[in-house]
């Protein structure tokens, strides 16, 4: 077979550009390499360049910043929020994590098509999620969880709260009781769990616990979602707390918290990282808060759902606010502020009740946790400590549970004191 070799034809220009010498042949490969290199450099450098150079803002004291946050009256905004949680929950065999235990059990126990908001909280406990939020005063809010080719939306408009799960094509609907004019009631009406996922809500909760056990300072400036912001650094002074620091980026203009990062004392990745990736303080478009249930979607009314909870008592419905409060009635809080330890007496609903709900599963989970928890002994007897990156839990052998964002020694001390 004759070989046609471009290198050897050089007389008539027939091969035109295809007449490379060995060197130019090699040189051609420089082009793809250069393109790849350029792309790599762009990917590596552009974020670095974009984030360098914190904005120059006038100095401000921590007190001024906090009062600025408190005075912030941002009622209209829309944007995207990225929430990343890494609680360091121990992984179960098969790749599931503890959070899946609760969420998964709910999924199996419930009738998969229900779009009730309760179960969605579990999804947010681990991993990274993108949310879109929009708010127009206390009467209208919307939170959507962006999923792969699907979306879970929670829409609160006046008296009505809709939840729509596009994947299951299921709708959940609840109406505020008639005559409850007060705005606070409406606020409570929007299921707490999902309303609490914006940086504002996180920041509010932390600021509520600011007292003399806390170091608050302003730690420079930063840019979040293209806006200049001050960074508020909050540190517990106590040695026992597992909370390393909390950073809140506060919009320099209007005092809206834009970013919330909670880092554990053990270092490493943040446990909770909630930040706006895009934010717009204009009025959201009018149609944002309208919702009509699509044709053929399965609509669950709130009353049905609650009734189902009473009858069924399955794990997911156990997550209902009301039931959760019942379970929490057996809860005592020991200690103050950052060092507080929650004590749950067994039977009423131990720590796993927060995950599971019905008695049987809880027992199983308890025994299971004991299997990989670290054994500790003290005046209180003996028990197992289950550690995550932020929260530690002590399950005593006599069925008590102590949970707190404190280290093991503090848990044992609390258990001893309770004895």
């Amino acid at each position: 077979m004759a070989r046609i070799r471009p290198t050897q034809v050089d007389d008539d220009g027939f091969w035109d550009e295809e007449r490379p010498s060995r060197r130019t042949k090699a040189a051609r490969y420089a082009l793809p390499v250069a393109v790849a290199g350029l792309a790599a450099a762009t990917i590596g450098l552009v974020p670095a360049l974009a984030s360098s150079g914190d904005p120059d803002l006038p100095k401000i004291s921590a007190e001024e910043l906090i009062s600025k946050m408190a005075a912030s009256d941002t009622e209209q905004l829309s944007g995207s929020v990225k929430i990343t949680t890494d609680l360091g929950l121990p992984s179960l065999p098969g790749g599931a994590s503890l959070s899946d235990l609760g969420g998964g059990a709910g999924g199996e126990g419930g009738d998969g098509a229900s779009a009730a908001p309760d179960a969605k909280l579990m999804d947010l406990v681990s991993g990274s999620h993108t949310l879109r939020v929009a708010a127009d005063g206390p009467e209208r809010q919307r939170v959507s969880i962006i999923e792969k080719a699907a979306e879970y939306s929670l829409i609160h408009n006046g008296d009505e709260t809709w939840a729509y799960d596009s994947e299951a094509n299921a709708v959940y609907h609840s109406t505020a009781p008639k005559g409850s004019g007060a705005k606070d009631d409406h606020r409570r009406e929007l299921p707490k769990d999902l309303k609490d996922v914006t940086p504002q809500q996180f920041a509010k909760q932390v600021l509520a616990s600011v007292d003399d056990t806390t170091d608050v300072s302003v730690d420079g400036t930063t840019r979040v979602a293209g806006r200049d912001a001050y960074e508020l650094l909050i540190k517990p002074t106590s040695d026992d707390s597992t909370v390393g620091s909390v950073r809140i980026a506060v919009d320099a203009d209007n005092g809206t918290p834009l970013k919330f990062v909670l880092t554990p004392k053990s270092g490493g990745k943040a446990v909770v990282d909630v930040a706006f990736t895009k934010v717009d303080f204009g009025k959201p478009t009018a149609g944002t808060f309208d919702f009509t249930p699509p044709k053929g979607a399965k609509v669950t009314e709130e009353s049905d759902h609650k009734r189902g909870a009473k009858d069924g008592m399955n794990a997911k419905d156990g997550m209902n606010d009301k039931d959760a409060q019942e379970a929490l009635s057996g809860l005592k809080v020991i200690g103050e502020s950052w060092d507080s330890v929650a004590r749950l007496d067994g039977g009423e609903g131990g720590a796993p009740a927060a995950q599971g709900g019905d008695g049987g599963a809880e027992k199983d989970a308890g025994g299971f946790l004991g299997g990989f928890g670290k054994e500790v002994k003290g005046d209180f007897g003996s028990g197992h400590v289950v550690s995550t990156r932020l929260v530690n839990a002590l399950l005593t052998d006599d069925g008590k549970v102590f949970v707190g964002a404190v280290d093991t020694d503090a848990l044992v001390a609390a258990a001893n004191k309770a004895k």
Binding site: E17, Y29, L31, T130, E167, P294
Partner: protein, 301 residues
């Protein structure tokens, strides 16, 4: 092949090929690609997918139940994207069909066409005759690449159009509830559907370019096809391994499902832009690599 006649040598004098001649090369390349039985068979298989999905959903829901309920309590056994809405609105069959064909059928068909583009000619011994015509290797490569890209578009449109037609025949059409829960008119929905088809076609540019590059590496068309299709599968497996999350954003199938973001309200652009950027990057890197390889290659067959 017909191209040989199209480019008969008239004068030995050095000259630049006329623009019309260039177009002729592209035209004949397109005609050859789409006249092949193999291409038509691939398109036929792609067209069958939405029809089968439509019939299956119709049969399953004929007793009045929804799709979700049929899955044994839902929960873990996740129904593919958009399936739950098909019975209420036929246009969702278009989206469901695209979501179902994008991971396997479409890239497989692209892999066959792209893998065969250069290596097939080489394997059949026709590549050197193509190069005897004064087209220039770069231009020939471009013509081949264009034909592959055209196939990406046609394949996507075949799935989309049969999906829409089957959906219109079997299910009611009407106003569309977007996945954000907002309802838009049917016309608006059609515009979005067109956008979805365009994004899906562009999502295939990455694998198409990789296929053409692989095709320049070997003289065996089968080897090139198998490698390309194997690469599609490998990349998607890697994309599901959580420990490898660091490389996920650079795998070409990673953002494929982002076409669904066009169905949000407002449209969520982040992943769409990332997807198109990634496909462009693959096209640039592997396109230039294919050029480097093909223009420097010893043509032995």
């Amino acid at each position: 092949m017909s191209r040989a006649e199209a480019g008969t040598l008239e004068a030995p004098a050095p000259r630049r090929p006329r623009p019309l001649w260039t177009l002729a090369l592209f035209r004949s390349e397109l005609a050859i690609t789409f006249r092949r039985w193999r291409t038509l068979a691939l398109l036929g298989v792609l067209a069958a997918v939405p029809i089968l999905i439509g019939i299956a959903v119709k049969i399953e829901t004929s007793d009045g139940g929804g799709v979700g309920q049929g899955g044994g309590g839902g929960g873990e056994g996740e129904a593919p994207a958009f399936f739950s809405q098909i019975t209420n609105n036929g246009i969702f069959l278009l989206f469901a069909a695209l979501a179902a064909t994008l991971p396997v059928f479409l890239p497989m068909a692209i892999g066959v066409i792209a893998g065969d583009s250069i290596a097939g000619e080489a394997g059949a011994g026709t590549l050197r005759y193509l190069l005897v015509a004064p087209a220039g290797r770069t231009r020939l490569l471009l013509a081949k690449f264009t034909a592959v890209l055209a196939f990406c578009l046609v394949a996507t449109l075949v799935v989309a159009v049969t999906g829409l037609a089957t959906g219109a025949l079997l299910f009611p059409l009407g106003d569309i509830t977007l996945i954000s829960g907002t309802t838009v008119s049917f016309g608006d929905g059609l515009v979005r559907a067109l956008g979805v088809a365009a994004v899906v076609a562009l999502s295939l540019v990455g694998i198409a370019t990789v296929g053409v590059f692989i095709s320049t590496l070997t003289n065996s068309g089968i080897a090139a096809m198998a490698t390309t299709v194997g690469l599609v599968i490998t990349a998607q497996i890697l994309d599901t391994i959580p420990q490898l999350h660091a490389i996920h954003p650079y795998l070409f199938p990673h953002y494929w499902l982002s076409f669904a973001d066009l169905l949000r309200d407002p449209v969520y652009w982040d992943d769409l832009v990332k997807n198109l950027g990634l496909q462009g990057l693959y096209a640039a890197v592997f396109g230039s690599a294919a050029w480097a390889r093909f223009t420097a290659k010893d043509i032995t067959a």
